[in-house]
């Protein structure tokens, strides 16, 4: 771990220092957060006080032969001032911990039509599902209408603790992953692509998927988005096309104006196929979920009214299907359940400095569900920014013996100037797991962009 982190930082230093005079822009953000909250462990609560430093540095415009270079480092480090330490995403890692979210160099040539990225990065193209990867990716556009993305490396493992699925909380398990997408786009009307993601853990497949994606826009105010991810691995073990689709979806999006938009969506998932294919569990299941619904944003400004009020509405029908049967006896029964999710939100922006909103939702499942209500607001004046946020959940069935959760938050920030701001936050309430919940944060944020220019002779 030390060696890898050291190499990454050394590479960053080498790239930043000698080429500094040629960089056109360096964007740096530093956020120091002291957080305190009581955390529940094995029947008791313990005070936790982690101190985190988040750093993000992005340098653009480094001149290289025929193109330009970008450097990105996004990292954090922390120390926990209490014991047991705050849970920060994996096992207790002691008082000190840290990780790299991103650390890559990107070269661009041919006016951006050829890009190569090396280092820790996220792969979002095709069916990669924003895979965090330590590796290399190449993105290119050619022959006017075609694009090719290829990538490969090792799925990121948190805190550099090791490789492989035994330790990794990366959704794409394994120690090697490769993939890519070949795409075609014609004007604004249509684009589609075929992509693949393959991952192995010690030589065994953890993902083996191919996918098709489509965007079709016959008119500027309507888009059809389609996606179908097919598991080649499941094809060898399950019959039935539906049992071999980790996910598929079709959406109609109507972006009429920023204040008048509608979507309709159908999606299908086989959750077990999002587990690693080397998991023993995915051979037990025969379940799929389907969703059908839509959303609408209706803003009064869309009708010529000078009232900055937007209303968002959403509905989703939820259905799950599973086969209950014994292949030995042949007895088979299909089990299906359905539920509904409703959502409404109103956002009013009386001025550029203030926002007031209210939202409510209802999740209705066969065995559980909840009602939710939330109000929030923010106001910025004289360099100060204050926010209030309160929300409650009322559960259909008790959670840990309680049927409601109510939390309120308040923050106060001050813009010191020169990119420096201070934020204080407190949160309190009552939840099923905390009779008296309280947390707080003090945050110092530094956000600055340094521009430099390479002066041409």
């Amino acid at each position: 771990m030390r060696l890898r982190l050291g190499i990454a930082l050394l590479a960053a230093a080498v790239l930043l220092a000698p080429a500094s005079g040629r960089a056109s822009e360096l964007e740096a953000t530093s956020s120091t957060s002291l957080y305190f909250q009581k955390q529940w462990r094995d029947g008791a609560t313990y005070p936790t006080t982690p101190l985190y430093e988040f750093i993000s540095v992005s340098g653009r415009g480094f001149a290289i032969p025929g193109g330009e270079l970008q450097l990105v480092v996004d990292a954090w480090g922390g120390v926990d001032l209490s014991s047991p330490p705050w849970w920060n995403g994996y096992t207790n890692s002691g008082a000190w911990s840290g990780d790299l979210n991103l650390a890559f160099v990107k070269g661009s040539w041919l006016k951006g039509d050829l890009q190569v990225k090396l280092g820790r990065q996220s792969i979002g193209v095709g069916n990669a599902r924003m895979l965090q990867l330590d590796g290399l990716s190449l993105s290119s556009r050619f022959l006017e209408y075609l694009s090719l993305d290829v990538w490969g490396g090792a799925p990121t493992v948190q805190r550099f603790i090791g490789w492989g699925s035994v330790y990794s909380s990366n959704p794409t398990l394994g120690n090697v992953a490769v993939g890519g997408r070949l795409g075609f786009a014609y004007r604004q009307w249509v684009s589609f692509g075929v992509s693949t993601t393959l991952a192995w853990d010690s030589g065994n497949f953890t993902r083996e998927d191919v996918a098709l994606d489509l965007k079709f826009s016959p008119v500027p105010w309507m888009y059809l988005l389609g996606y179908l991810d097919y598991s080649l691995f499941a094809n060898e073990y399950y019959s039935g096309f539906g049992n071999q689709l980790p996910e598929a979806s079709a959406s109609l999006v109507f972006p009429v104006t920023p204040h008048l938009q509608f979507t309709a969506e159908y999606s299908y998932t086989v959750p077990a196929l999002l587990l690693g294919y080397n998991s023993i569990l995915w051979v037990f299941t025969d379940g799929s979920h389907q969703y059908l619904g839509g959303t609408a944003r209706v803003g009064l400004e869309a009708f010529g009214l000078h009232v900055p009020l937007d209303i968002d509405l959403g509905y989703r029908w939820i259905a799950s299907y599973s086969a209950l049967g014994d292949p030995t006896t042949g007895a088979l029964s299909k089990d299906s359940e359905s539920g509904n999710r409703y959502f409404v939100r109103a956002t009013w922006k009386p001025s550029a400095r203030s926002t007031v909103g209210a939202e409510g939702s209802r999740l209705d499942l066969p065995e559980q569900g909840y009602w939710n209500a939330r109000v929030f607001g923010s106001l910025r004046m004289y360099g100060f920014t204050g926010t209030l946020d309160g929300q409650g959940y009322w559960f259909d069935q008790p959670v840990n013996g309680n049927t409601q959760s109510i939390i309120g938050n308040a923050t106060l920030g001050y813009d010191v100037g020169h990119g420096l701001s201070v934020v204080g936050a407190v949160s309190g309430g009552e939840t099923p797991y905390y009779k008296s919940y309280f947390s707080g944060m003090v945050k110092l944020v530094y956000n600055q962009t340094y521009r430099f220019r390479e002066v041409q002779p």
Partner: protein, 340 residues
Amino acid sequence: MNQRHLLLPLALLASGCMNHGKKPEAQQPAPYKFPHSTHIEAGLACTECHAPVLKSTSVKANAIDVQIPAKSEACAACHDPIPTYTPVQRFEPAVHFNHAWHLPMVGSDCTKCHVKFTESGDVVKPVPPMKTCTACHNHSQDFAVGRCTPCHIDLNKYPFKPVAEYTHEANFLETHGKWARQSVQTCTQCHDQTMCSTCHTATTRPLPPSVQFPEKVASEFIHRGDWISRHAIEQAADPASCLKCHGVQYCQSCHGFQAVLPGSNTGGRLPTGHPSFLEHKAQARNNITACAACHSSGAGAQLCISCHSVGGIGGNPHPPGWKGTQSQIGSNPTCRACHS
């Protein structure tokens, strides 16, 4: 993690800032003083003062494309004496542009593109609207694939938001992945991946965005508020959505390694909502990902295998439609967990 390694990024940042921060450009340009409209109405040709643009093949930083003649008849026609004027230095170009090539195309009529000019007291310089470019250049193919850099120099600094495809309103949080999977390059025209990593680094990030940014009350954070109490409910509603960002080991870090379970303080009782023995078959068939939170590997998985191995009392767990064959056992180690 070694303390020294944590200090390195800070030192690096400080070093970078100090080295580069000594000569930052002025962020706020000086106000413009020249009243363009008065001179245009007087019928003055633009090239009287902007002669350099006739030969300008690129827009350069630091350039001043103004040359006011010391003795100009055009100026002297109205001014006596001719006032002195120091042109405002252009801060940084936003687009690649060849004036010399374009001027003949518009009959040297600058107003074809420059529909608005700076006036005395203006701080911001109006730039030609994009429609003046697209009036001649077929832009739709570049637009479709997000190929902006042939003209735009850096959209991180000069973001654009056409109404349709690049609008981030309404339920963009829900749909943005569908747009992004087609061409991440389109997103990166405006956004660095550091913006994505605020949420999309679930493997490495120690705090969810809703905790790290409590002041962003209008943002649509998925895990906002008391997520712990309702995460099992949300998982039942859409189990696949969890697994797109979190591997099951993420669940086990609490439910397994740290024994954070409702009731775990009372002698290892099953968590609230755990199915009884008689119900576990239906649960496994319907939502095996909930089981995976504890039983995907190690001792948890052994609990399943102990009954469901070949010859075990649990019988054959494969669902209807299973078409795995004996010949596959040799090539798949997962099969050999139960099939010796």
